[in-house]
């Protein structure tokens, strides 16, 4: 298997190179300190497997996956176990290695990559996609719409939230605050990511920092909506969509 390594940390690249020497099937074609250099390489060369660090400045591992067309198998490497749930939303990711990576765990990941390849080759015309499942075609989105549970990761615990109970989501830097009928949660995520998970018929982004549950609106005045006790601004560009959704008399 021809592979490449992408990690901004030289120490991590050296360790992965050493681990790769322990597996005879692996042939390391190159190692790159950032995703941009790797993309340039992939434009000219084909590889079977990528060891990809998630946590890189400017262009993260997830950004990289969403950028490349028909990604090969990817094994994520990270010091942060909190990304595991997000990782498996991508079809191309075969495993998730938490640093420091031990040889037995590394070998297990390579086995998974091999099995993954066999299954892929045996499957009827699989369509490779770099998009997370949340961005998948309309049919899949509809089935997600019918689900009412959303799991959020807080302190390595997955907490279930009943989506209809959410009335407001606010972006706060690298975090989002999810407000529900009973409780508020602060989660390391983005408004875009949660927007993809929410049923589009119930939730609407009314401002670059806010998503609201349109069924929880109390009133609308000029360029703001009142939800519970929160007055939320509505940006000019989002106002027409909000008005379209209302059952106006």
């Amino acid at each position: 298997m021809n592979c490449i390594i992408i990690d901004d940390e030289a120490t991590a690249r050296a360790i992965l190179l050493q681990l790769c020497t322990k597996v005879t099937e692996l042939n390391v074609m190159g190692d790159f300190p950032n995703a941009i250099q790797a993309i340039k390489y992939l434009n000219q060369n084909e590889v079977d497997l990528i060891f990809l660090d998630i946590h890189m400045p400017d262009f993260t591992g997830f950004d990289f996956i969403q950028t490349i067309k028909n990604p090969p198998r990817i094994i994520l490497t990270t010091s942060d176990a909190n990304f595991a749930i997000e990782a498996f939303e991508y079809d191309c990711i075969v495993d998730y290695l938490v640093k420091p990576i031990a040889l037995p765990r590394f070998e297990k990941a390579i086995q998974k990559a091999k099995v993954f390849q066999i299954e892929k080759e045996g499957a009827p015309a699989p369509v490779a996609t770099a998009k997370p499942k949340a961005d998948a075609p309309a049919k899949e989105k509809t089935s997600e719409d019918s689900a009412t549970d959303l799991y959020i990761n807080i302190d390595r615990r997955l907490i279930k939230i009943d989506m209809p109970s959410i009335y407001l989501i606010e972006a706060k830097g690298d975090y989002i605050q999810i407000k529900t009928e009973d409780k508020n949660y602060t989660v390391h995520s983005t408004l875009k990511k949660i927007e993809d998970k929410l049923p589009a018929h119930t939730f609407l982004k009314v401002h670059r920092s806010y998503i609201i549950n349109i069924h929880k609106i109390i009133d609308i005045e000029d360029n703001s909506v009142l939800i519970k006790k929160d007055v939320i601004p509505v940006s000019r560009s989002n106002r027409p969509e909000l008005m379209k959704r209302l059952n106006l008399l």
């Binding site: 030289a10 120490t11 050296a14 360790i15 050493q18 681990l19 946590h55 942060d80 830097g173 390391h188």
Partner: protein, 105 residues
């Protein structure tokens, strides 16, 4: 305080001394740079950048077998992400232990 050790590096090298030397050379070159970035970010109260670099240093802590310090760094990284500096002193003590250890090699 726990002390650095070579158990992880030995488990990787399988006795390959060249690899061990090469890895330590990279560690010794990269760690001071990351430490500098960390102290600059903290001095500028740029907690987001500080959290980023603590994340990287965390890997080196684990390479040197400092398990308790790794947990501490993990919590400190999360504190920084929330704009808090709790555990700063303890984390910086870990940095000093690593500095002393690498200097002796």
């Amino acid at each position: 305080m726990e002390l650095p050790n070579f158990s992880y590096i030995h488990s990787l090298s399988g006795g390959d001394k060249d690899f061990e030397q090469q890895l330590l050379k990279i560690l010794k070159a990269e760690f001071p740079e990351e430490k500098e970035i960390y102290f600059k970010a903290v001095a500028e109260k740029n907690f987001s950048d500080a959290a980023e670099i603590v994340h990287k240093i965390k890997h080196k802590i684990s390479i040197l077998g400092l398990e308790k310090s790794y947990t501490l760094a993990d919590t400190y990284e999360n504190n920084l992400k929330m704009g808090e500096t709790a555990l700063q002193k303890e984390f910086q003590e870990v940095l000093q232990v690593m500095t002393d250890f690498l200097k002796e090699l």
